[in-house]
């Protein structure tokens, strides 16, 4: 039901509509629910509406956090490996 996908904004009409690239196709969606969206931004699209901008910075941060858990687990493995 709540399928929502990140899509890149290709163009913005004068009104509240925009065209986004979604899974390789162009789709017209409404920008009525968001503010300050520009061409090139990524937005989360749900039932034909942009719900939220996707933050590039935060995406990077989350990935970095995940790799950190990765680094940690590599160390754990090493320690456990050494003990075994």
């Amino acid at each position: 039901m709540c399928l929502a996908l990140p899509a890149r904004v290709i163009s913005i009409d004068d009104g509240e509509m925009a065209v986004v690239a979604l899974e390789g196709i162009k789709k017209r969606i409404s920008l009525a629910l968001v503010e300050d969206v520009s061409v090139g931004d990524y937005v989360l699209v749900h039932v034909g509406y942009a719900l939220h901008k996707v933050s590039e910075e935060e995406a990077e941060r989350t990935l970095a956090l995940m790799s950190k858990a990765g680094v940690l687990s590599a160390e754990i493995e090493e320690i456990e490996g050494a003990e075994a």
Binding site: R8, A32, L33, L51, E58
Partner: protein, 386 residues
């Protein structure tokens, strides 16, 4: 695709799995409820459960608007289309859900009712514009994610003076449902359902923010981690939950920061507040009557309220007998506990909503073949079972 592929990396998944196994090596069990059907879907589709140590359990919650809609409301929608002769616009997910006597919208349509699948409320408005001599009703369902688009359509209809458009409103609220589950006898007294923490809704939270969960995290002392929908999001959030549980914290944390802000989407909230107000109670499939858990259209937009425009008849609505959806939605049973699962009830011939919606627990069990479990409750590998 950007923001998707990175969050499905196999390498990172393995690393996170090791970190989770390490964090979970305490000898205790962890029961994490994922509220959202989207998480259920991700857990099954990407085999996240298989990457978990055996003491980390996912408890599937009620988080799919299709699954929690009571049969009565679906019967009402069928009535709108059949008896009141309206053009009924609906999201595709609702089409195959069986109502009383297994009557679904798709069957009503086959019998001649004018029921149209729409992708967006904008499509429903267009149908109303194109058919000025017909009544057009939008069958609105969904959580906080899907409510703002309905609000936009109502405001727009008023602005444009579209008088043949109305909304049959079934929008429901997530925090109220989570609280209700925590207060249910199964969790509180019977102890048949254990919940140590929640994977919090993704897209719901992009609208309402992370603040609404603070109350029950505190009140019920259960940690909440708002989690994105990609498999790595689910794993990272699981790790965060385990840490909170091990450290006896019960905070609201946010893993899905790329989309969820503490305050949410204020513009969407303002629109929703303008158009809708709380219902004092609403029936949820599986959860029963939940106070202040749904929205209705405000008096100032009463002209667009289908419940006011059309007199809906009293009716006795019934689910398919022996469909266990209600217990499954509370986390009290698993799809495999249902006698009809996989025999009488399949995605091609669904008996209950949980088998229709791709986010429903029964559909996920069926589609991803995780329905064969060993006697001890652990998942059997597919090969071993076949």
């Amino acid at each position: 695709m950007k923001y998707i592929d990175e969050f499905r990396s196999h390498d990172l998944a393995e690393k996170l799995a090791t970190a989770i196994t390490h964090e979970a090596a305490t000898g205790r069990d962890y029961h994490l409820m994922e509220f959202c059907g989207g998480h259920t879907h991700a857990i099954f589709r990407y085999g996240v459960q298989d990457l978990m140590p055996p003491n980390v359990h996912f408890v599937h919650g009620p988080g799919c608007p299709v699954c929690v809609l009571p049969v009565r409301r679906l019967d009402d929608a069928v009535e709108l289309a059949e008896r009141h002769g309206v053009i009924l616009c609906t999201y595709g997910d609702m089409m195959r859900v069986p109502g009383t006597k297994q009557r679904s919208l798709i069957r009503a349509k086959a019998d001649g009712a004018d029921i149209r699948m729409v992708y967006s409320t904008q499509d429903a408005l267009k149908i109303a514009r194109d058919n000025p001599d017909r009544e057009v009703v939008f069958f609105a369902i969904g959580f906080e994610t899907t409510t703002p688009p309905t609000a936009v359509a109502i405001v727009q209809a008023q602005r444009e003076g579209i008088t043949n458009f109305s909304v049959f409103c079934n929008h429901v609220l997530t925090p109220a449902a989570i609280q209700h589950i925590l207060q249910s006898p199964e969790v509180r007294e019977l102890g048949t359902v254990t919940i140590d923490g929640f994977l919090g809704p993704s897209h719901v939270s992009s609208v309402i923010g992370s603040q609404p969960y603070e109350f029950f995290a505190e009140e019920f002392q259960k940690p909440v981690v708002i989690a994105g929908f990609e498999p790595l999001d689910v794993m990272q959030s699981t790790l965060m939950l385990l840490r909170q549980i091990n450290e006896q914290r019960h905070e609201v944390e946010n893993e899905y920061t790329r989309v969820v802000k503490p305050e949410g989407n204020l513009k969407a909230q303002a629109l929703v507040g303008d158009v809708f107000e709380l219902r004092s109670e609403f029936e949820w499939r599986g959860l029963g009557t939940v106070p202040y858990s749904a929205l209705k259209i405000r008096e100032s937009y009463a002209a667009f309220d289908a419940e006011k425009r059309f007199a809906l008849s009293e009716k006795v609505s019934r689910e398919v007998k022996s469909c266990e959806c209600p217990a499954i939605l509370r986390g009290a049973k698993k799809p495999t506990d249902c006698k009809l699962f996989g025999t009488v009830c399949t995605p091609d011939n669904p008996m209950g909503s949980c088998m229709v919606s791709s986010e429903g627990a029964c559909a996920a069990y069926w589609t991803y073949g995780r329905f064969r479990t060993n006697a001890d409750g652990t998942a059997a590998t597919k090969e071993a079972a076949e």
